[in-house]
Symmetry: C2
Subunit: 324 residues, 2 copies
Amino acid sequence: MYTSTQLLEKINQHIADLNFSRPPKGLYDPVEYVLSLGGKRIRPLLMLMAYNLYRDDVEQAYPSATAIEVYHNCTLLHDDLMDNADVRRNKPTVHKVWDDNTAILSGDAMLILAYRYLADTPVEYLKPVLDLFNETALEICEGQQMDMEFERRHNVTVDEYLEMIRLKTAVLLAASLKIGAMLGGATEKDAKLIYDFGIHIGLAFQLQDDYLDVYGDPAVFGKKIGGDICCNKKTFMLIKAMEKADMAQKEELNEWILASDFDADEKIAIFTDIYNQLGIKKLVESEMEESYIAAMECLDEIAVDNDKKKDLKELVTTLMKREI
Amino acid sequence: MYTSTQLLEKINQHIADLNFSRPPKGLYDPVEYVLSLGGKRIRPLLMLMAYNLYRDDVEQAYPSATAIEVYHNCTLLHDDLMDNADVRRNKPTVHKVWDDNTAILSGDAMLILAYRYLADTPVEYLKPVLDLFNETALEICEGQQMDMEFERRHNVTVDEYLEMIRLKTAVLLAASLKIGAMLGGATEKDAKLIYDFGIHIGLAFQLQDDYLDVYGDPAVFGKKIGGDICCNKKTFMLIKAMEKADMAQKEELNEWILASDFDADEKIAIFTDIYNQLGIKKLVESEMEESYIAAMECLDEIAVDNDKKKDLKELVTTLMKREI
């Protein structure tokens, strides 16, 4: 069995060695650019770790792991275009370096490339892996659509929000883990458990992202604090705050939400203050904690020696506690 | 064996019965809209006809035929966005009815849906069909990229142009036919022949499209005559004309190409006149004829009773002669 550090090294090397030298350069250069920006490679890593619970010949899972990472980066490329985001991983986004059409077409090519890697999944698993991948990719589109629709809605509920982040974020982590387990020969029961484990950690990660936008340490967080507040993003925290706010607080929040011209630091300070008054920090902390515990319960139930699960547990715990 | 009319009815019905009722509507309504606009369904029809050369249980090919049509419509959706086209099949395009982001995301969902239909290909053929589909879809991106790059280049050669239309148009017809033949159990030799048949008819169709832009009957053509001329599209005809033009003709063509403000009818008349002087009409006619003959030679060589090929021959001949 490999450590998570070894597996991460392996998959990083494998992705770095991918070759996109076929013409036209105008199509494939942006693909190479996006993949060279790095990122934590958390999805392919989780896939290899899940596979490694059952088998040691982890190279068998490389094609599907590559497919997941290429697919994930394709969604970032198109999402950045749709969100008109200028920067990703401290570098200009594809539609900034090239143009919108390049972002559309190279994103499409990346989606197809993901399927090309996926097609090299060991053939006896191809159909079930393809089915899960397809369903997951559609769900991610649905999550992105909901996210975009939420921007124009003012009555988003907590349940709707949790469903959106399940679709947009959690299902890909879950599918990565499940595909790894399937390829490793896990029972259906184990495969389902590891999928549910992925859903719970996915929800926890996204809630943590919302949380850190308000309570994170800017030096560690890597993004500007208060970004979600400034753009009125309907996060768990804002939705909960609107739910619990009294008339005066609701009015103040709404006033700032509708203001087109405002001092960002002032808005962030006022929102944070209201969140504090309403106990939102505690609320999101306990929601994260619940997801974390539910995830660990799934992991515990998987019919594999506890020793083997240690690294997976540690990785998730580290990621969850990274800046809290 | 079915007639092409029967097969077209069958696939039309099958596509009309597809169900996109899952939420969110904002994601799937544009997919349904695009598929409801119709079109000739030539690609799935060719697939069923190729399958029907070998077997009569054509329902076996429905999933792959649906995948090809959904994929093709996804490329139209994204191409229309990239080309900023307002109208498709006499209806406003998706980014006009909805917006750019909807066109991007619903197009992505359509690409994934295409793979979902493809995953229902009989499992013994899934891997080779998926491989061919992936390679073809990547080639189509490459063709679209070349097409966009040609807009900014003034030294496109005939060979480059033919390679671009092979990638952008011909390979999908060829792959449709080959997948049909593969699923029907054709030999590798036959599958290759029908693929090449598809390449030749694809080139012929596109050349005919270029030709009809200049010499078509507006009542039959369905598009405005001279559209390619007005936007300086580097078609076979313009490239050939630039190649054969004398100094004065070249100067006149270039002057009109560079003019940002011009009378469209006058420009069309002048280009047509120069094409006539240079014998471009004959040139493109003989290029089309060559492709048509090469296609028929491939078809003739396929190891299937000539009787069975009659409909395929007739369909292609009708399509080729439609407005000449």
